[in-house]
């Protein structure tokens, strides 16, 4: 029969064995080989975040989340998650940069040579060069995007800067405005890219990008090719507290051709008479009309000074 004292030794033994049992070994290669096979991966491409340029220059201390895509053996484009991948940097550059297994690159110190980032999924790999060169912004040299806008059809723009040692870099941190706001508006910055919507055509829209007090203005012509706005449904009838989702379609001409584009989210919705008959949403859900009291009124969809009205009957 075991004594209490014996049990003490048993516990010591179990604890002793388990304390020596720290896990080690990396299964990533096994898993990535299976992932590569499942995807039928033929090639990989590393890309910098939207709003940054290639070749990619960064300052010491910057962190850059890299993206990953691939092409399958069936020539299909594959958007791949950068997380839990076998990312690496040549050991020779360990003092200059690091990268985690989610593809987030951290610049540590200026490097005399470009740092080669590598990622592998199974037997397929890709490399990408990043220059770590600490510089300050000298000027905003360019706003990239279409030279012309069509009314109520937003386009994306990015800013490009020239730095103190001559490198050219994207400026995803830029703040944006329109100097003549009657001509248009800017949306929310998404990964360094800003959507700009022109609404009037009297003069070019003046788009302004700013970074740390450095500004750059670019004139963008707003085409006067919006011919018509059609509000749907054709007949708007509802009840008190009833809801109708309105839509707006713009007809645009380019030379001889004509095309229709849904612009429900871009137009400004308004009930023409503030007579308590109905209200309409200009935020999400944009274009949603609610009957308030019995009667007739008008609802309008406008893009700058281009306006279309339709009658509303609330019963």
């Amino acid at each position: 029969m075991m004594r209490c004292n014996d049990m003490k030794y048993a516990y010591i033994m179990v604890a002793g064995v388990l304390s020596l049992s720290a896990c080690s070994g990396d299964g990533t290669e096994f898993l990535s080989a299976a992932e590569s096979n499942n995807l039928r991966l033929a090639s990989l491409t590393i890309t910098q975040p939207a709003g940054l340029l290639s070749p990619l220059y960064v300052n010491a201390g910057d962190r850059v989340p890299l993206s990953l895509s691939g092409i399958s053996r069936d020539n299909e484009f594959l958007e791949l998650s950068p997380s839990s991948k076998n990312w690496s940097i040549d050991a020779a550059f360990a003092d200059f940069a690091s990268i985690d297994n989610n593809g987030v690159f951290t610049a540590i110190a200026d490097s005399p040579e470009p740092i080669v980032v590598r990622v592998a999924i199974g037997g397929v790999d890709s490399t990408f060069n990043i220059f770590v060169q600490t510089e300050s912004l000298a000027s905003i040299s360019e706003i990239r995007g279409p030279a012309t806008l069509e009314r109520c059809l937003p386009q994306n723009y990015t800013a490009v800067g020239t730095f103190s040692q001559g490198s050219t870099r994207g400026l995803p941190q830029a703040t944006w405005s329109v100097a003549n706001p009657l001509m248009g508006r800017v949306g929310e910055n998404f990964e360094g890219s800003i959507p700009v919507t022109g609404v009037n055509t009297l003069e070019p829209l003046q788009l302004v990008a700013s970074v740390d007090g450095v500004t750059f203005t670019q004139a963008i012509v707003v085409d006067d090719n919006l011919q018509q706005i059609v509000i749907t449904p054709e007949s708007i009838e509802t009840t008190v507290d009833g809801i109708v989702s309105l839509g707006a379609t713009g007809t645009y001409t380019t030379g001889e051709s004509e095309r229709s584009v849904v612009i429900t989210e871009m137009v400004e919705w308004q009930v023409s008479f503030n007579n308590g008959i109905a209200t309409v949403e200009n935020e999400d859900p944009k274009g949603q009309l609610t009957g308030e009291s019995a009667g007739t009124t008008l609802v309008s969809a406008s893009c700058g000074d281009f306006r279309e009205e339709q009658s509303v009957v609330v019963q």
Binding site: Y9, V17, G27, T28, N37
Partner: protein, 178 residues
Amino acid sequence: MARLIIALVCLLSAMQLQADIRLYGEARAGAGGVRHSDLDFYPRFGSFSAGVFIFENIGIEGFVDTSFSSDETDVFEVDITHAAGAAVRLQSPPERGLQAYVLLGFVNFGLKQKENENSVGGRRIIKEDFSGVRVSVGLNQRLEFMKGLIFGIEYRNYYADSGITVDGVSLGLRYEMQ
């Protein structure tokens, strides 16, 4: 292997010297399970262990596994190339010759994955050593025709926190010195 030796030394130093120490040895054969990325492999292995009961129903043992054959799924062929470790055996008192037991210990094991044709048309072999915890549960039945001879069935899991599940079921014969 150094860990294995350290573990054994620690355990032996923790035990009291007793006159009634009983040695045992065991040989097993079984099918392993290696699972990752929705792929299942069942390589076959042999396992040999030797140990000593330092208290009633509490033993310490060393074990070594060897590969009998690998297993293929899709374009992959996987094998548990080797395993070795030390464990503490805790078993129930016998009831009509039947005993349940648990093994807790440390294990070092190797996996090999051969990719016969990868997505870019090449072949690739990945080998990696892992260390972790061995947990086994099993049942032993004493055989009547030979004193000290025991037949057993066991489930074991080698846990290394690697994203790869490694376990197995085996049958074995053990001999306990009386």
